[in-house]
């Protein structure tokens, strides 16, 4: 029983990271109908930023929650800029192009970031260990299962960020504009909503959440690797599809389900299926319920 609860706890903390990334996919898809393949690379870049920045702060501070928050802020700012630039340079010129061209560009951007980061003078192809921002300790135990302070941090931070996001999307004018643009871009433009600016903002918002996810992942599993973004991104994408792409609560639910599924697969089956389970889930979802758990099914008009 203790083992089961432990898996549940691990699954939830992994799942909330997926949820943070999945929200970014979901928001962009909701607005542009584009799978932003480069989103996973933003997560990776967040860890790379942390890797370069943390030593400067470590010289003055001890590992603590404060240090974590400082590094997190830097990573968020950096990734926000990256997200903005990706949209501005690669996607905006293609606003009127067929969707398949946007998809190809997105794949191109993703691989470009990935391989550019692998260059020796940027980061290198060899995985490095991430500096310790917080020392891991057991916080409390539930029925024999250990909950570490990092897991509490992951859950707490994800919760705060999701509440903040919910507030932005449903309680601010910008959020209203975002929802309007995702409903109908042309009519929004007619009504005087600055569509391009709203789209930029969506990318920044998604990238900031991705930055949080990247820093959390690297704090939990202290490794930075130029290739880590692809798999994280793909799994989070599956989570977004599972929850219903375009829906933020769906992304959160999908993320949690994905995290649990992965944790149980590793715990009870075999760790070699760890990555295959994501694709298996994706294929089943797309065949059985393509609109996802919480998504609205739309009928394509001719």
């Amino acid at each position: 029983m203790a083992e089961f609860i432990q898996h549940v706890i691990n699954g939830i903390s992994l799942g909330s990271v997926y949820a943070l990334i999945a929200i970014g996919y979901s928001m962009v898809y909701g607005i542009l109908q584009l799978i932003n393949f480069a989103h996973g690379e933003v997560v990776m870049l967040s860890s790379v930023f942390g890797f370069y920045v943390a030593p400067y702060f470590l010289a003055h501070m001890d590992p603590s929650i404060g240090l974590f928050l400082v590094v997190l802020t830097v990573a968020m700012v950096g990734c926000g800029i990256v997200g903005f630039l990706i949209e501005r340079l690669a996607y905006r010129p293609l606003r009127k192009a067929p969707r398949i061209n946007c998809l190809i560009t997105a794949i191109g951007v993703s691989l470009f970031i990935q391989y550019f980061t692998q260059l020796d003078f940027v980061f290198g192809a060899i995985p490095q260990s991430y500096p310790e921002l917080m020392s891991r300790e057991v916080y409390f135990t539930i029925a024999g299962a250990e909950v570490s302070n990092l897991q509490v941090l992951v859950l707490g931070l994800s919760f705060v960020l999701m509440v903040a996001l919910q507030w932005i999307v449903y309680r601010t004018k910008l959020g209203k504009a975002m929802r309007a643009v995702s409903e109908n871009t042309e009519v929004s433009a007619l009504l005087g909503i600055p569509v391009d600016r709203v789209i930029s903002f969506t990318f920044i918002l998604g990238s900031v959440l991705a930055a949080a996810a990247g820093t959390l992942v690297s704090t939990m599993y202290p490794k930075v690797d130029a290739l880590m973004g692809t798999l994280l991104g793909l799994k989070a994408f599956v989570a977004a599809v599972l929850g219903g792409i375009g829906s933020i609560p769906g992304a959160v639910l999908g993320g949690l389900v994905m995290g649990m599924a992965e944790e149980f697969t590793v715990g009870y089956l075999s760790s070699s299926f760890r990555d295959a389970i994501a694709f298996a889930i994706l294929i089943v979802v797309l065949l059985v319920r393509p609109s996802g758990l919480l998504g609205k099914s739309r009928i394509e008009k001719v």
Binding site: L34, I35, I104, T105, I107, Y115, L119, F279, I283, L287
Partner: protein, 328 residues
């Protein structure tokens, strides 16, 4: 019948001449590049059938290539005694069988993958094919009989440049003719307007699956050639990166242009090899960086690729074109 006879004559002539030139007048390093060019041409034109002519975006081509490579290699290495593949006429007959087995097995896998996933469109199809490509690789990785992660070695080196040139010409010509036929026109009908095609009473799913199976078949044949050229296979060859390179060739050449795919397959393969030398000088692996940059720049500046949907001779002046038509 006249036409078939003429085709066979032309194919044989070209194969013998080009094969002879390539294998006797060219150095061994250049030969390797040429062989890779030929294999990549087959992969690019076959992927173009799905991505360009049928309008379904697939990202898992390397997976089907892997199926063909592994089944054919397993056949010639594990099931046939070495004396039949050590040279001579018999070994070439065996190789024909191996190529077909590779192609057919990839075609079967293509059918199994295509039937469920081709119901999806656009981005979802891309992701699912990517997923299937990875799953195929993971499955191969876990089969011990064909070497698992260690890879399979000792494959008889049956592929020579005659074979590469021959298969390349046959498959390109077959695709060219196919696209002129009624089933080929149906592929393009699905691409141009799926709803209208449905309204004409055609089963678009069946058309898409047909295109997918044929494309996988050719990828499998290319894989078989690949296996018997390098004589060693490793699952890590057939990752998403390889699929992506083939996609880049198709996109750069123009989705819907066979000659464009051929040109860009040759161009990118040679470029990739050229950059290998650059890599030894600069100590930096710039190859994939450039690949992805090319893809982005092409999409931003010339979204239809170099040749768009036209073949290269359609760009010739009309007076010249007539001459070409008459002679072909």
């Amino acid at each position: 019948m006249m036409r078939v006879g003429r085709d066979v004559f032309i194919i044989t002539l070209f194969t013998l001449v080009l094969g002879f030139v390539f294998s006797d007048w060219v150095g061994p390093y250049e030969q390797t590049i040429l062989a890779l060019c030929g294999i990549n041409i087959i992969l690019a034109v076959s992927l173009n059938l799905v991505n360009g002519f049928t309008g379904q975006f697939s990202l898992g081509h390397a997976g089907f290539m892997a199926v063909g490579a592994y089944t054919s290699a397993a056949l010639t290495t594990l099931y046939i005694s070495p004396e039949y593949v050590s040279g001579g006429v018999i070994s070439h007959l065996v190789f024909v069988v191996a190529l077909l087995v590779g192609g057919v097995s990839a075609g079967i896998v293509g059918f199994l993958v295509g039937v469920p996933s081709l119901r999806l469109r656009g981005d979802y199809l891309a992701i699912v094919t990517l997923g299937f490509g990875e799953i195929i690789r993971v499955i191969i990785l876990n089969i011990e009989a064909i070497g698992g992660a260690r890879g399979i070695g000792g494959i008889p080196g049956l592929t020579n440049l005659y074979w590469v040139v021959g298969v390349c010409i046959v498959s390109t010509l077959a695709l060219h003719r196919l696209l002129k036929s009624i089933p080929g026109q149906q592929f393009m009908a699905v691409r141009d307007d799926e709803t209208a095609t449905l309204a004409m009473g055609l089963s678009t799913t069946r058309i898409k699956v047909r295109s997918f199976v044929f494309s996988s078949f050719l990828a499998g044949v290319a894989g078989a050639l690949f296996a018997h050229y390098y004589q060693y296979l490793n699952p890590s060859t057939f990752t998403f990166n390889y699929s992506f390179q083939i996609v880049a060739m198709v996109v750069l050449g123009g989705m819907g242009s066979l000659s464009g795919s051929i040109l860009s397959a040759v161009g990118l393969t040679v470029l990739l090899e050229g950059l290998r030398e650059l890599q030894t000088i600069t100590q930096l692996d710039l190859r994939m960086v450039l690949y992805s940059l090319i893809l982005i720049v092409v999409m931003l500046t010339r979204p239809r690729g170099l040749l768009g949907r036209k073949e290269i001779w359609e760009y010739l002046p009309v007076s010249l074109r007539k001459g070409v038509k008459k002679s072909s």
